[in-house]
């Protein structure tokens, strides 16, 4: 039987324990905007794509060329996972399982999911803060070492939440960086904050000035993906992230 989700590598790359950046669409499109900016800025090549019968029958055309909307970019040291369409809720588990299997097969040293943490008063926040979650002791140690503020209590929901768990099962060190963001508006400002924290791990000196300067243009281009993602997110219990967990343990 064919796998539900298939990772297709199109180029042969000798990898050196790469760091994986997962920027799949979620609240504020923080990860998607950050991943796309990094790919563009660091001129990462497309190295493969993801296909699944669970994905909608959609392909994307760029410069007259047919492409999968679920793409992999990178080089020997970094792999970026991104998508131009929303993840269907029923694909989240098979997708994260397949990705964790693949990350394990390429000996990823660290998996970083970049995403948003929706806040009600985002309009009044000039520089969004970034919080983090680690999936094991080593991940938490790395976060403390890089002085990224840890989320101590709360629920997390969506693709990145399951990704942390699937990576844990594969003994992969994984973290999620969550930048305060608008829930249903594309948020380049939050993506810039997230890249600031992400670069503590990549150490590539990514300058976010252009991202902030082009923020309005990015917001305009990302409207439809944001709309799709918001519809999909409502089926992923994203509202649980605003709930308080029972504190007595």
């Amino acid at each position: 039987m064919m796998d539900t989700v298939r990772i297709v590598e199109e180029s042969v790359v000798t990898r050196k324990n790469p760091i994986v950046i997962e920027g799949l669409p979620d609240v504020g499109l923080v990860g998607t905007i950050a991943a796309s900016y990094i790919v563009d800025k660091l001129k990462y090549e497309e190295i493969g794509y993801i296909e699944s019968d669970l994905f909608p029958p959609v392909m994307v055309i760029h410069g007259g060329k047919l492409k999968s909307p679920f793409c992999l970019y990178g080089n020997e040291e970094v792999v970026v996972v991104s998508s131009e369409i929303a993840i269907p809720p029923n694909a989240v588990y098979p997708l994260t399982r397949a990705l964790a299997d693949w990350f394990s097969s390429i000996n990823a040293s660290l998996v970083i999911s970049v995403t948003g943490l929706p806040v009600k008063n985002r309009m009044d926040i000039d520089k969004p803060e970034v919080f983090a979650v680690g999936n094991n002791e080593e991940a938490i140690r790395k976060l403390k070492e890089k002085q990224v503020e840890l989320m101590e209590e709360g629920f997390i929901a969506g693709t990145y939440a399951v990704m942390l768990r699937e990576c844990y099962k594969k003994d992969l060190c994984a973290i999620s960086l969550l930048a305060q963001c608008f829930p249903v508006y594309p948020d380049p400002g939050a993506a810039a904050s997230a890249i600031g924290s992400l670069d503590k791990f990549l150490q590539l000196g990514i300058d976010v000035r252009e991202l902030l300067e082009r923020g309005e243009e990015i917001k305009l281009k990302a409207r439809d993906l944001m709309r799709q993602t918001a519809l999909s997110a409502s089926e992923m219990q994203k509202s649980a992230e605003q709930d308080m967990p029972i504190m007595y343990r």
Partner: protein, 121 residues
């Protein structure tokens, strides 16, 4: 929704209008509507409300132009956002207020329904 509307459900019009992203929140006493309006300045936002609708028109400081894209396949420009929303409850238009910050418009619409105090026996 008809089949045609479900297939051709665009968030833009050939007249140069874009539909903005928006969010509606019911806080009990008020309805708060926010709109994401990139490339818009405060002075170019026009808001009109009735008891059960709110309508915004917001001119962009620079038009958005897309070339040979999607079903259009020719140059198309968008110059403003426009959206009318039907509200879930009647509001008091005269008491409405609005603020605009970092490209996001927030409109606070107090509900018409009055609170009634019920003493507990």
């Amino acid at each position: 929704m008809g089949i045609e509307r479900r297939i051709i459900k665009a968030t833009w019009g050939y007249n140069g209008d874009l539909e903005p992203l928006y969010e509606l929140e019911d806080t009990g006493d008020e309805i708060i509507v926010t709109f994401d309006l990139p490339r818009v300045k405060r002075e170019n936002v026009e808001i009109n409300t009735t008891e059960d609708t709110v309508e915004i028109t917001a001119k962009m400081s620079e038009a958005v132009c897309w070339e040979r894209w999607g079903s259009v396949q020719r140059r198309i420009s968008f110059t403003q956002f426009r959206k009318q929303i039907r509200l879930p409850e009647p509001i008091e238009p005269e008491k409405a207020s609005a603020s605009f910050r970092n490209g996001v418009l927030r409109i606070i619409l107090p509900k018409k329904r009055r609170k009634v105090f019920i003493p507990v026996q």
